[in-house]
């Protein structure tokens, strides 16, 4: 095995060894240092949109009073980096960002709670009219792309930007977008074996044993094609699949 190179960085006074290639946010989280985020998800490419994860950095070769705000979800660790996650400047900007988010989604419980943690109970700005709960973090679109469905995307730009489903046929009803949305802004309905999302209704395959929804046929076809596994692999009950997987694992390990 090749050895991963590490660098030594300091976060909030703690000295940390982080592998090269990691971002400041990943390094911090790995060591249980909290940096808030809304648009980050370990499963997809970092995006740098919500600006909550912005931190202050200094470098050993900079003049002592020189510092810079950077996006921790994108900023790669480097030897000697000094990071402050709660400096006055960082906190000030987090507050303004949350204040702005609160104006955008005044009805979102998630944002209201987060803002309250920073002492913001009402926004200083004009609230958006007819506001939904979307904070335009782009996670849903990135997740949909990562899955390979490419059904949803952002449209327009500036304050008018929104998420929609221009490619409705491509939607496989997997709910990944709705489940990763940090503010639960994507609505879906699940009743019995029917599921509706993005105005499209799917018939859901139920677990033969516990009758809970497993997946839509479109989703199964998609995953089967992507993984090369037979479709029936996905329709088995959870318990059966676990058993079979364990058995095949045992074969590989002990044969």
């Amino acid at each position: 095995m090749s050895e991963t190179k590490t660098v030594r960085i300091t976060i909030d006074g703690r000295s940390i060894d982080a592998p090269v290639g990691q971002t400041v946010l990943e390094a911090a989280r790995q060591h249980n240092i909290d940096i808030p985020s809304l648009c980050y998800h370990p499963g997809v490419e970092a995006f740098g949109a919500c600006r909550l994860c912005v931190v202050e950095i200094r470098k050993h070769n900079w003049t002592p009073d020189w510092k810079q705000l950077v996006t921790s979800c994108l900023f790669p660790v480097e030897e000697g980096l000094i990071v402050e996650t709660r400096s006055p400047e960082v906190m000030e900007n987090r507050k303004v960002v949350l204040d702005l988010q609160l104006a955008r989604v005044p009805n979102s419980d998630v944002i209201r709670q987060l803002a309250a943690e920073y002492g913001i109970h009402d926004t200083s700005y004009e609230k958006r009219e007819d506001a939904d709960d979307c904070i335009m973090c782009g996670l849903c679109v990135r997740v949909c792309d990562a899955i390979g469905a490419h059904a949803i995307s952002t449209l327009s730009r500036g304050p008018e930007k929104y998420v929609d489903v221009p490619n409705k046929d491509a939607c496989i009803g997997c709910l990944a977008c709705a489940l990763t949305c940090p503010t639960n802004a994507i609505e879906y309905i699940e009743e019995g074996n029917m599921r509706t999302i993005w105005d499209k209704t799917f018939e859901v395959v139920l677990d033969p044993v516990n009758k809970k929804p497993i997946a839509t046929p479109e989703q199964i076809a998609h995953f089967s094609k992507q993984s090369g596994l037979p479709e029936d692999y996905f329709t088995k009950s959870d318990a059966t699949r676990k058993k079979e997987t364990a058995a095949s694992f045992a074969r590989v390990m002990f044969d």
Binding site: V54, T71, V97, L100, M136
Partner: protein
């Protein structure tokens, strides 16, 4: 006529041919240059050309007697934009230096009969030096300050050559820089020369070009992409378009020299999608150069390989930002990325990329052919060479001008631009495009260069310069730019998307007289976060129109908020219109008023009913006697005389 070789296989063959072209052109006695820039074409330049051709044919025998044979000793050609669009269509006769403005097809006959045959100018077409109809005329274009005070490097061929004519390009040292680089310099020497020249990027940020190229050389990689940024999104800026339209070969020569210096084998020119003429002329130039062995494999037998493609822009303003541009080139949505990894390491397709602006590349051939010292002898300590500005707004002579760095704002606005329209007081000049800033009268003597403008809260940007007179409201100006940026923000990150929206809403209520106590502080706080926490330079630069107007014109914000007073007489909710007693009772305003708010009889003072008036300003525009004043809080803010501040 001399014959052009099928292809140029050595540098010498190209130089020899250029020499022959020059000799051949010496027999040319007279050249009629018709400006075929978009504005002059819209004004009928091509119709004039048709008419001129007819007249030339009709007068062929007389012309011959005078020693002028059309096609050899007398040439008529279309050139690119001369930069003085509002005086167009323009026609220039060389070597007589005659400069005709507002030329119509009907003038073709008198130009042939009077100027070509008798050697006399057509007086009515000459440029008026004092901007009035009957005023003194400029006998030669070198008498016109607008041109005389320029120093053209990036624009060296603009307006003098036919951009579709390869031979025309050769005349003015075309490919001399390339040949010099290939035959007498190593790639490192080329990069060193650009570095020593002090050239800084003309696309906005002013990053030293040589330093960028050197850092690309240090990133040892097999492949470097070369990109030319021709997206030009700043409203009112048109220098890059004019260069691409009017002198495509120079841009490509600059890229070829860069390719040699950097070892790049492939490149793109990314052209704004609304620039059809630039696309057409660049495409022609690329195809032509491929055929002549000046692009592709083993250029001029030197071993240099360079393939160049054209790509049309995605359309959004933000696509001009380098990281967004490279995404767009990849066929993805043109959204910026955080630049923690430099594009000389990971740019287009995550491969090393050097990206420069059109004007930056256009300076390179001259730097190589005339030397780094020559270039760095112009300009200020840290801003070398010249810069092209688009001078617009309330100046008498608007247009595109190239001057050495370090000229003062006053020289540009008053000497080149002729001063403020109607000799009204100057209030501000906005420089640097939408995220630039506004400078007041006491900054007029500042030398214009990258660092001075930045220090004063404005910016060089791409070279936009909008001049404003006393009848301008600075809060309204800030609102205009914030609206533009808000519409053009890609909408990805919160401070830019939501911040711009909120700043706009606050400015909007201030201009409507609904500003609140604390609004200025709220804007300042928001602007600070936008500046430090936005993802890309659009958001980071977006606060400047507000911050610079707050810095120099804070009292105007305060007057709007506290006194509901707009001293510029612009904000509709804060002004009303009033007819003063110079009114002659001509009934013109009364007839034009869309809401029938004006009453009065012939030869009697007219009166505006405030309840019906919608402050559209039509009455003021149609009044020939300056009888309509604009009042804010009981004070005349715009009338016959400049308002008292």
């Amino acid at each position: 006529m001399i014959k052009r070789p099928k292809a140029f296989k050595t540098p010498k063959s190209l130089l020899d041919y250029a020499e022959k072209v020059k000799k051949d052109r010496d027999s040319r006695k007279l050249e009629v240059r018709i400006c075929a820039g978009p504005s002059c074409v819209a004004g009928g330049a091509l119709e004039f050309r048709d008419e001129l051709q007819k007249e030339l044919d009709a007068h062929a025998p007389q012309l011959k007697k005078a020693g002028l044979t059309v096609g050899t000793s007398l040439i008529e050609k279309c050139t690119g934009c001369h930069g003085m669009c509002e005086a167009g269509p323009l026609v220039i006769l060389e070597p007589m230096e005659i400069f005709y403005t507002h030329v119509k097809p009907k003038h073709a006959k008198s130009i042939v009969e009077t100027t070509l045959l008798e050697g006399e100018p057509v007086k009515e077409l000459l440029y008026s030096l004092d901007f009035t109809k009957g005023g003194e005329k400029a006998k030669h274009h070198s008498d016109i300050p607008f041109y005389a005070l320029q120093n053209r490097i990036a624009l060296k061929n603009v307006g003098t050559i036919d951009p579709t004519n390869f031979e025309d390009f050769l005349l003015n040292d075309g490919f001399k820089g390339l040949v010099k680089a290939l035959t007498t310099m190593t790639p490192e020497e080329v990069v060193d020369a650009v570095d020593e020249s002090g050239l800084r990027g003309r696309g906005g940020a002013g990053f030293p070009t040589g330093r960028k190229w050197k850092s690309a050389l240090r990133v040892k990689q097999d492949r470097v992409w070369l990109v030319c940024n021709g997206d030009e999104g700043d409203p009112g800026a048109f220098m890059d378009r004019v260069i691409m339209d009017s002198d495509p070969y120079t841009v490509i020569e600059g890229m070829l020299i860069a390719a040699y210096g950097l070892g790049a084998t492939d490149g793109y020119i990314y052209v704004r999608h609304e620039y059809p003429l630039a696309v057409k002329h660049l495409t022609m130039a690329i195809e032509n150069m491929k055929a002549l062995g000046l692009l592709g494999e083993n250029i001029l037998g030197s071993g240099l390989n360079f393939n160049l493609k054209l790509s049309r822009g995605g359309g959004a303003f933000v696509c001009g930002e380098s990281s967004a541009l490279m995404r767009s080139l990849e066929g993805k949505v043109g959204e910026p990325r955080a630049k923690y990894v430099r594009s000389v390491e990971k740019g287009f397709k995550d491969e090393p990329t050097v990206l420069n602006n059109v004007e930056t590349y256009a300076c390179v051939p001259s730097i190589i052919s005339r030397g780094a010292d020559w270039f760095s002898s112009m300009g200020t300590a840290k801003s070398k060479g010249t810069k092209v500005f688009s001078l617009v707004g309330k100046v008498k002579q608007t247009g595109l001008v190239e001057v050495p760095m370090g000229r003062t704002l006053r020289e540009i606005i008053y000497d080149i631009g002729g001063g403020i329209i109607d000799d009204r007081p100057f209030k501000a000049v906005q420089t640097g495009g939408p995220s630039g800033g506004c400078l007041p009268a006491d900054k007029l003597d500042l030398p214009v260069d990258f660092d001075t403008l930045t220090r004063e809260g404005a910016m060089m940007g791409s070279g936009g310069m909008i001049v404003m007179d006393d009848q301008t409201c600075m809060v309204d100006v800030a609102k205009y730019f914030i609206k533009f940026l808000s519409d053009e923000s890609c909408g990805k990150c919160v401070p830019c998307r939501e911040g711009l929206k909120q700043v706009y809403q606050i400015l909007d209520r201030i201009t409507k007289g609904e500003g609140r106590e604390g609004d200025i502080e709220l804007i300042e706080k928001l602007c600070h976060t936008m500046e430090v926490a936005s993802l890309c330079a659009l958001g980071k630069g977006a606060p400047f129109p507000v911050l610079s107007t707050l810095r120099f014109f804070r009292e105007e914000y305060e007057e709007h908020i506290h006194d509901k007073f707009c001293r510029g007489g612009v904000c509709k909710e804060l002004i009303n219109f009033h007819i003063n007693d110079s009114c002659t009772g001509c009934m013109v305003c009364l007839r034009h008023c869309p809401t029938e708010a004006i009453t009065g009889e012939r030869k009697k003072l007219h009166v505006i009913d405030d309840d019906k008036c919608i402050s559209c300003g039509i009455c003021r525009n149609v009044c020939k006697f300056d009888s309509v004043d604009i009042i804010s809080q009981g004070k005349i803010v715009a009338g016959k005389e400049p308002a008292m501040a």
